[in-house]
Symmetry: D2
Subunit: 403 residues, 4 copies
């Protein structure tokens, strides 16, 4: 289904060549200041082939709020948002080869199998354009999270192909034990990430290596994958709904629903599975009041009480037993190399005839940098839904408990 | 919430020290032959400290079907199942240290933060005992999947610590390109997996290495993690609901909801993110009628039509655009080292006092082998729910379409 | 929430003075022929102050399909529809009295209480304009139901104030035992209903009485309520999901979610509660092949098998145990007199000051005739969702059962 | 489906002749004092053929709490409850006629049509025994509502056949304008209702008339229906989720899901549809602090703020625009005459042969009195779910709003 969330409920629509793409967001708190200006920046960061910094006045993918606000305040009713498609003609791919061949590792064939019909652009809702509604909805969730708890969500590129920001080592099978990594989690900001355009890996040297690699693949009409890491700071403790909707389970669901994703790790991830418990366990220490964060939002300004204990290390990635513990949540998402490549591919037509597919046109050799705002948006949707579930619980507990 | 699934809806209950644990399964097809004998084997495989082979007559964790069947057939109404807890006394852990200290990397503190109360056994529903209901429900889903499409689900251990069944190599950053791995996916059965008790890694040499490693950690009162791979054969094409409930997203959600999981990979996974698209893409080939599978269920007996095209390679892991393509689905799940260890740990009490926690008693140094039936169960729940969504679609399409 | 349905999922948005109102419809079967022409007629029937017959070329409330179709066929992906609001300026009501007073029996105060804010037009989503999305979605559901099973849904006015089409009598405490009523259910069509514009009560004499009554109330700047009856013919047997989502429960939910509704009766309704069981019970008789129905769709063309037994009488209203039995479903919905009236009303301001409210402008003295397409739409949404649930069940039963 | 509610989620199971019936309740606030003693009274009131007063020490239908509490406090985890079936043998009805004939107006045939199989007791989950889980879950909801807001829910019989507590009159087409009725709503308690056993109509004269009527029908081996009215006092304002989940829509859904119900009215109901708006509208007046209520829970003790305005009359039944306004909510539910009667009925067998069905054994001539606790339970489930939705909203609004 095209809905996500229980309390903060998002419903998206649209494929590449229809009139528009968009989203309805249900459950937005009333009395929130909200305008298109809150939503547009992330849509702009998502746009193909550019970064927010290089194209500050981009006029495309403009969001129009349809409902749910008046005089700049939310009414508590559903907020619908629409973003026009520029190219609404079916057949835009206009490639007779494309009509004959299902693209390898693309969704052309599976959409045909599932629905008995397929959009002319191939895999209908599997298009990256589908993610626009997610990003628009995520921007609203983010604003709520920031205002309510000072939550900050920042994603950045951690590898392209075999080029890593923090290569796994014998000592650090996961970067979760690497102080340099932990320090980056503490301070990284979106501005910093975007300053490393176009790769969005916040390290000059690694970024250069990655950019070269992408260029190589582009030159060969090939493609390459990579990973993003996302950190969420100032998360209230107590979020996540056992047993099936553990916070990491919802994050994994959200991330693997993004096109082209192949893998998800919370905290220490696969590397952590190689560590002894005696090292992997995060001992508790007394929490100290937190200093103002990089982006200026002080912990102390949060309206939500913070736990009195925190962890000395953070291999857990801020979640224990499916519930946030107040430490930074961080996770890594793997993206495969894009399926559409210019290189000739020996494959088979819909009519079961062998042949060679050559995809004309410009193709993105790597989607990882552009996925940054999408990952941030999906993280925000998960957190916001969990926040509302916990607010309902806290509210009722306060009302019924004798304590 | 403690519910999973939309159409095949599972609702579990129970923690370690209450009267019983159990589950209600809603949406079970009527007229299905079903008895406790269909459910007990997986519950027995799940039991701590033993394998199905060594304890064939185990009398514990007996499932009692409460409702929904008559004369051995399902009625189409909810099937409730109950499994008694043997030790219902709170305070069983009986350790004054345990009362003072939240266990590092366990759920004690986060449950307290979330609910303002915690079960005496620590993290309430974070107990492994919670998974019993999942396994019971999964056994029903599995039976439906097997009868309807010949679906076979087999999980097996692929690594413990740094001991791998298929270590990553420069040529095969993911085993997805390794012919030996692909051949194993084709033939592996539960009987074979269990014959490699107690580690459940289906290779004598690797299994021995892993067993030694676990023994070492046990001796040191430490713990170690590892990974499981699960293959699902004979999956009908067309399963998975774009855009948010892609099949891999639901699998990731399901797997990360299992206690102690840290990571999930579909198909080529993180390794695939390092490959060029030209290698990673799975070209299409004409499908040939499939020979009878290892467990005797022939593809040709399936009541569901198979697609005319299949893929030559399978880096996609049987899913493209969030929808099954009919090839084997396989994925890998990472489990962290168990949090409860006998070694002394410097940590802090609930009352913010520094101290040393020593967890008395026997603790499982590695949960990976026992997780095999849990992973299989959750995979079955995801598949069954997707099957029902697709049956509704196919049914309506047939009724409304002019084709 | 602004969502309705589990399989055929509808999500609406919009209030009176925002940019547009609309809906996303998820779960629409693929390969269905669909265009705006399928949706517009019911939207036009819903428009204020007119009937479809008198204003055949009405240019307002035009639906724009945003997504989910290509070359006139549905893709199986979400169908978004948008209808522009003409008057988007807040403050249109422009009445300083209106700003001071919550309108008695309107939603102004409760929206303020719930959200801490209210739209300038008063009760935000309680506006009748909210129902546009329902009607648009219902039109798609109706088309599916008609094509798949020949389902016909027709609502008509059965009372305005004390003027009844079938007044309750000692012999017929409910019209369910009145042959004239049952005969009407058999034959009534939308064309017939609309031919009795503007009241939509399909009886010349009763219609005239009702029209006079409405005129009286209009002249007095007062308002009056009434009832609608809706019949659904050619319903497949087996629809409705025990125990909480019984078919009549879903219909009641759907109807009471329409603005201004106060009551719901299935079949014999409250009248039936006064009858002896020996009269109320519907004995079974052998079903005979049904002749082509009034609107030209023959039962025999249905692709869904009909039960071999039917009932001699139909006090049950086509539903027994929450499940359709194949007989006509019929129900009655009560609408209150509109809350906004021109007459002066002694009431109290938001600021707790007593005063007199006089609502300027033209107000509809009776909403019942206009509610006809809304009731039909909501009935279609309920039926379609139940159809899909049953298709999923039937599909799985066929696959797993030994029968 | 057998689930009800979004945030306070209830999942029931069980039919007449299986091992047990029961329920899982998810979303119960943690730290609530809860034991079987909170649940048993309503189960006892629900038992057939008796009232709480006459059988204070009834040992049947004992609830066993399976999970979710420790030391008398809820843990915030799912609470499972089980009630054994005494008669678990299928075929208990043991009537060869019953096997041949689907009972008229019962669910035998529709269950067979829906599922392709039927329980030996006839309509599986359509049995009144299914309601036990609802009552058990409702008791928990009620306790939460009472502690948090002083909510009081009391249902009572208002008519049996043509015998009314408040017969409709020309002046009062609905009792909503009758001061005697409104006064009863203010003061009626469960103790009072039960003191009028066995009819549960709180008026000696009306009760006697009704009891006589039921006796007459019993003597004739016939059956008769009737109506219940339910009042909910001390409801916080702001409950109910526009647009589809309006509070009256959820109540209608809940009530029509109870076996044997045919009709639902909120507030003035069908009678109100006959009134002029000028009379039906409820003018606002300044609210005055409310005196302690009949059951001793003072309004002033409520932890939830009450609105500053209330209504002078209450034709709305405490709900406007789908949202509670703080006034008493009241509604009426119609129950049909029980379908199983001793009288001979000419009908048709499953095999399409005409014949005569005589149902042996004792049959309840009227279910209305016993439905009292079921209606109360379902009302509590609706209110509690709405409370949690609103707590989530209020919590977030407080955190994000600038006001």
């Amino acid at each position: 289904m095209s809905t996500f969330g229980h309390y903060f409920k998002v419903h998206t629509y649209g494929e590449s060549h229809c009139l528009s793409v968009g989203v309805i967001v249900d459950g937005v708190p009333p009395c929130l200041e909200l305008s298109a200006a809150d939503i547009q920046p992330q849509l702009t960061r998502r746009r193909p082939g550019q970064s927010a910094i290089t194209t500050p006045r981009d006029e495309k993918d403009r969001v129009e709020i349809q409902s749910g606000t008046e005089r700049g305040l939310t009414l508590g009713t559903p907020i619908a948002m629409r973003i026009m498609n520029e190219n609404q003609r079916p057949k835009d791919y206009g490639n007779s080869t494309m009509d004959k061949f299902p693209r390898p590792s693309h969704a052309d064939l599976t959409y045909q199998e599932k629905y008995g019909i397929r959009a002319s652009s191939g895999g209908g809702r599997s298009s990256a354009r589908e993610t626009i509604g997610r990003v628009a909805a995520g921007a609203i969730a983010e604003k709520c999270l920031k205002l309510s708890a000072g939550v900050e969500i920042v994603a950045f590129v951690t590898s392209i192909g075999d080029e890593y920001l923090f290569p796994p080592t014998a000592i650090h099978p996961s970067p979760s034990t690497n102080p340099e990594f932990l320090s980056l989690l503490e301070t990284i900001s979106r501005e910093k990430v975007d300053s490393f355009a176009p790769v969005r890996c916040p390290n000059a040297e690694a970024s250069a290596r990655m950019e070269d690699l992408i260029s190589d693949f582009k030159a060969r009409e090939d493609s390459i994958g990579g990973t993003l890491t996302c950190v969420i700071r100032n998360v209230p403790s107590g979020l996540g709904e056992p047993c099936f909707d553990k916070l990491e389970a919802m994050l994994a669901h959200a991330m693997l629903s993004i096109p082209a994703t192949k893998a998800f790790e919370i905290g220490s991830g696969f590397g952590g599975c190689r560590m002894p418990g005696s090292i992997h366990n995060d001992p508790f220490i007394k929490a100290t009041p937190v200093a103002p964060s990089a982006t200026g939002l002080a912990e102390v300004e949060s309206k939500i009480p913070r736990p009195r204990l925190t962890t000395k290390t953070n291999n857990s990635g801020g979640i224990q037993g499916g519930i946030s513990n107040g430490a930074h949540i961080y996770f890594t998402v793997g993206f495969k190399p894009p399926a559409t490549i210019g290189q000739a591919q020996a494959t088979t037509t819909y009519d079961e005839e062998e042949g060679v597919l050559e995809a004309k046109g410009r193709h993105d050799p790597c989607v990882v940098p552009r996925a940054v705002p999408i990952v941030e948006a999906m993280a925000a949707l998960v957190l916001m839904d969990a926040m509302m579930a916990q607010q309902a619980r806290i509210g009722m507990r306060r009302l019924v408990a004798n304590v």
